[in-house]
Structures are given as structure tokens and as C-alpha cells.
Amino acid sequence: MTVLAEGFNAFETAKTPEGVVKYLGSPQDVIALLSSGKLKEHILLVRGGTTTFLSPALSMGAIGIITMSGAPESHLGILSREFQTPCVMTAHLTSSDSRYVVGATDDAHFEEIRQGLEGKRVRLEVSDSETGRVVAA
């Protein structure tokens, strides 16, 4: 099992969703993905841990989420628990020392994670109470 990234686990579940990582950078990206009918083929990668940005994706049955900031107490953490959508939060690449720090993280950190995960087929391992893992599928 190759762990590509890990972060806070929003909630414990035996679910192990698998899909190709799709980065969503704007509301238009979210709407386009929903319109494509391919929502359930993807693990969604987003920067923030807020919930409104992903609203329609959550509502229409997103299978798994990776965020680059936020925690289980963040709004997206709460909503992913309610939807039972596995969610790894504030993920960092295991191959990198770069870590998210509130108010002191530049774009390079986020871009590195995007480059490291986008387009890859992954599985979320989220049975641990604290740590969620993104593994190569």
C-alpha cells in the first residue's frame, strides 16, 4: 500500500471509496463536474474546508473528498460526517515536508499537492479515528 498523502480524518468509517482525483478550483468547476454526470468517478480535491463551495457535489452524492485545509470541526468536516462521505482534511503529501499553517501558507504548498494527486487513481483509507490516508489504487 503506497500512501500518497495523509491528514485529519473527518470521521471513522469502513468505507474505502476509490476514484481518480479531480481538483475543483471554482464554483464553475463544481457545476461542470455535476453536468458531466461523472461525479461518482472522482475523489474531489479542494483547497478549503468550508462547505458551501462543494454544496451541490455533496448533495448529489460525492464519494470522497480531500481538502488542503480544515479539520473535522470545520463545516465541511461536519457535513461530510452527516453525508457519510469519507473526507481527509488538511492533507499533506507524504513525499514532501511542506505543511499547511493557518495564515502562513503560500500558493506553492497547495500547487504541490495538486500536482502530486490530480489525475491519480486513489483510495481513501479512513478507518482510523484520527488520521485519514490517500493511497494509490
Binding site: 483547497r47 468550508t50 455533496l58 479539520a71 470545520s74 463545516h75 457519510q84 479515528s129
Partner: protein
């Protein structure tokens, strides 16, 4: 910190309610605030205990109706409340605050504008409202929540009066150097008195905050609660009804967040209530259609009610429940974290308008949730499209409105002063100082870095000084 739990092990959450118990730690971080040079505070029950030990007054202990009806706090009481709220804010929000940018709604910007606006203008609205209904009338407003569901007179709104309007508003203005620590003491008293009275009237056990009572917000009278629990339907694990109930809970909660611009004012939990069979009940209000927000017209078009209320019955033993916190922003967190699979009963209610009488609140059978879910989903998509086309300025001021007048809207409505506030007191206007701050807060990372750091680290809640006078406002704008 790693806590591993085995579902199915016996629940131990009741241990948290014994005097000697310090509760679990939900996070590794520590709080310093104004306690520089002293042992940092922890989260949860232990943090509350230490705050009470360090207080200079009795205001954090159970207080009497006579105490609450007094018009003025002492400076020590104000400082104890300031310190406690700073810790409480950290306790409930420090981890949430790591969530970064929204990608859609500039929340930090709208939040800080609203905080400061509240501190400047709420004292007038709260004083005039108190003048009209009397101090005891404010207690009655709080008490009304004991026999209602689908009411925004709830933990999060009540907490916001003091924690946000006073605590964060004053913190933001201090950070902006617009005020000094001993300015606006009288106004601070006005805001905190209103908060104390509403919360005391609601709880009626002498405390005002859930964190003072080991994170319990059990406000409903037993006979009223029985009218809710009588409607509970059994939910078998993994059954279609379980799926329908939990999916509806999630979808309606999501819309409530969106209708309130990604903030917690859209939902409110009370509990945990222990049921006769040993299970626990959480009552959850989800506000899916707020008539005062113009963008909520899409919710209205779908025929959505002001609020859905979900009665959620959880089997604590099947879950191996170690601790449950219904915190002061009315959100439930548990250890283990995932309570959804252990929901064994549920009921759904709809309150059409904010003032629909309790006798007219309708029970929606779980077998009939399908059409309700579709309405919620359609409204979510329409609202998302609408919000995604709003300009940055529109988003900031709309979010500002959700906070600035939305936090005291339910109390003024109940007092009967809301229309006056709009028409005579001009609550929906923007104070010129705040209009000017719109530009200031967007410079040098003030909204996105400076203020969140001061608010969530606790370093920005400067105490009132020894020379502070309870009668003082701010008399000069000099340096």
C-alpha cells in the same frame, strides 16, 4: 493524540458527568489568552473547571435570577466573562478556523465587518428592546425556547450576542486600533447583560453556557419533550428508512449552511436528553428558509419551511460513546466521531414560519421524506447558482447581514421590536465607520490573518483595566 474506540463497547459517556471527571481532550492545542505566565488551558470540561478556579468573581458559577436582573456587572465580572468567552470561542472554533478560503464566499471579510458593526450598534438596539419589555421580559424571551422547536432563540444565536458582538467585535476594533481597552465599557455591559439574561432564562439552572454544564444543553421541559419523543419512528441499521432519515438530515443541514452563507446560524442542536430506554436524543433545528434574506427566495419558491426539526435517537452502547458535547454554537461532537450508523430512531417536524404556533407544526413521516428531500436538493442547486454569480462585494455585504442583524433577529422578533429596528433604528443601514473599514480590513492581511490570529489564539481579548469605569463610553477620537 490518537484515541481508538471499538464500536459496541459499553458507553462511558456518563462518567463525564461526575464531578471529579475532567473529560476527554478533543484536540492537542492549548489556550493562553490573558493567562500569560500561567498553565495554559485545555479544551473541554477541564478548561471550564480551570476558568472557574481562576475567576475573580462568582459570575461563572450558577447565578440567581436576582443577579441576572441587576443592570450592571462589576469590572471583575466583565473581565471574567471576557476571559471565559475568549476560551470558549477558542474551544469551539480553533480547529474550524483552520479551514482556509471558501472558494466561494469571502467569509473572513464579512465576519470581521459584522463583528465590529455589532459592537458599535447593537448596544442601542439591545438597550431599547430591554427598555420596552423589561429585564424580566428578556429572561422570558430566553425561556420561550424551552417550549418551542424551530426557534432561532437557541444556543448559537444567544452565544453570539456576547461571544461575537462583544468578544470578537471588541477584539477586532482593538486590533484595528479603533478603540482602547477601557473604551465602551457601558456598551459592553449592555451587550453582555442581554446575553446573560436570554441564556439564563433559557437554561434556568443558573448557568448560561453549555460548556459550564459539561456541554449539555438540555433546555426543554419534560412534558414538552414528550410530545416530540412520542413521534419517534424506529430505524433499523442500514434500512431504507435509516438511509432516508440520515440523507435528509445531511441535505437539509447543507442547505441551512448555504442559506446562512456558510455559517453555523442555520442549525441548532439541543441535548443530549436521556430517554427511558437508555438511548440519547439530540434535537436539531435546520433553518432552511430565512425570510429576512433576499436570496432565500429560491427556498421560498420550493415551498420550504422556515425550519425542519429532527429528533435523533442514538444508541450510546452500540456506539461505545465516550463523550458527547453539544457545544455553545449548538453543534454536536462525539467520541467516537461517527454517530450516524448508531441512529436507531428519528422524527421530522416542519415549522412553516418563525412564529407558527407549536400546535400547527407538522410531523413529516419518514416514509414521506422523499418529496421533501427533492425540494431541499432543488433549492440547494438554485441557491448555489445564485450565490456563485454574486460579486465579491455583494457576497461580503450579504454575509455581513447574516451575522450583523441575523444574530439578534430572533430576539428582536420575539420582543416585538424588529419592525422598529428596521424602520426607526435603521438596523439594516451600514454605519459610516464600518463602510470605511470595508477597505481597511482588506489591507495587509487584516481580515484573513491578523484578526483570526487574535480571535482564535485568545491574545486579542484585552481585559478592562483597573481604572475602567462601568459608566464609560468612548468620548474622543484622537490617536
Amino acid at each position: 493524540m490518537t484515541l481508538q474506540f471499538e464500536p459496541g463497547q459499553k458507553a462511558t459517556y456518563k462518567d463525564r458527568y461526575t464531578d471529579a471527571d475532567d473529560g476527554l481532550r478533543f484536540q492537542d492545542l492549548e489556550f493562553v489568552g490573558n493567562f500569560v505566565g500561567q498553565e495554559p488551558l485545555k479544551d473541554g470540561i477541564l478548561g471550564d473547571k480551570v476558568q472557574k478556579q481562576r475567576a475573580k468573581s462568582r459570575v461563572l458559577e450558577k447565578v440567581s435570577r436576582e443577579d441576572v436582573l441587576k443592570d450592571q456587572f462589576t469590572i471583575d465580572e466583565l473581565n471574567d466573562l471576557n476571559n471565559y468567552l475568549a476560551w470558549n470561542i477558542w474551544d469551539v472554533l480553533v480547529m474550524r478556523a483552520t479551514e482556509g478560503v471558501s472558494g466561494m464566499i469571502p467569509r473572513q471579510e464579512y465576519e470581521i465587518l459584522a463583528f465590529m458593526h455589532e459592537f458599535y450598534r447593537w448596544p442601542e438596539f439591545l438597550r431599547k428592546t430591554t427598555d420596552q419589555v423589561g429585564a424580566a421580559g428578556i429572561l422570558d424571551i430566553g425561556a420561550s425556547a424551552r417550549r418551542e422547536i424551530g426557534t432561532k432563540i437557541n444556543a448559537v444565536h444567544d452565544w453570539c450576542i456576547g461571544a461575537v458582538g462583544f468578544g470578537m467585535g471588541r477584539c477586532g476594533l482593538l486590533a484595528l486600533e479603533a478603540i482602547k481597552p477601557d473604551d465602551y465599557v457601558e456598551e459592553s455591559n449592555e451587550i453582555l447583560k442581554f446575553m446573560q439574561r436570554v441564556l439564563w432564562g433559557k437554561r434556568q439552572d443558573g448557568y448560561i453556557l453549555n460548556s459550564q454544564d459539561r456541554y449539555r444543553g438540555r433546555i426543554h421541559d419534560a412534558d414538552f419533550l414528550e410530545t416530540i419523543t412520542n413521534q419517534l419512528e424506529e430505524l433499523q441499521p442500514d434500512s431504507p428508512d435509516h438511509e432516508a432519515f440520515t440523507r435528509f438530515n445531511a441535505a437539509a443541514e447543507l442547505l441551512s449552511f448555504l442559506d446562512h452563507f456558510d455559517c453555523r446560524l442555520g442549525l441548532g442542536d439541543t441535548g443530549p436528553y436521556e430517554l427511558p430506554n437508555g438511548n440519547i436524543l439530540i434535537l436539531r433545528d435546520l433553518f432552511t428558509n430565512e425570510a429576512e434574506y433576499h436570496w432565500s427566495d429560491v427556498c421560498d419558491d420550493e415551498g420550504l419551511p422556515h425550519a425542519y426539526t429532527l429528533a435523533i435517537e442514538i444508541d450510546p452502547n452500540a456506539m461505545g460513546l465516550q463523550e458527547i458535547r453539544v457545544n455553545d454554537i449548538a453543534t454536536t461532537f462525539t467520541r467516537p466521531k461517527n454517530y450516524i450508523p448508531y441512529i436507531v430512531g428519528g422524527a421530522v417536524f416542519a415549522r412553516e414560519k418563525w412564529d407558527t404556533p407549536m400546535g400547527e407544526v407538522r410531523n413529516v413521516k419518514i416514509s414521506e421524506l422523499g418529496p421533501e428531500l427533492e425540494k431541499v436538493q432543488r433549492a440547494t442547486l438554485k441557491l448555489y447558482r445564485k450565490v456563485s454569480t454574486m460579486s465579491r462585494r455583494e457576497l461580503i455585504w450579504a454575509g455581513h447581514d447574516v451575522y450583523y442583524f441575523g444574530m439578534i433577529l430572533p430576539h428582536l422578533r420575539k420582543a416585538g421590536t424588529w419592525d422598529q429596528a428596521v424602520n426607526s433604528w435603521q438596523i439594516k443601514e451600514v454605519d459610516q465607520r464600518i463602510a470605511n473599514y470595508y477597505y481597511d480590513i482588506q489591507k495587509r492581511g487584516f481580515a484573513q490573518e491578523t484578526v483570526p490570529l487574535k480571535i482564535f489564539s485568545g491574545s486579542g481579548y484585552l481585559p478592562f483595566g483597573e481604572g475602567a469605569d462601568i459608566r464609560s463610553s468612548k468620548y474622543a477620537w484622537l490617536f
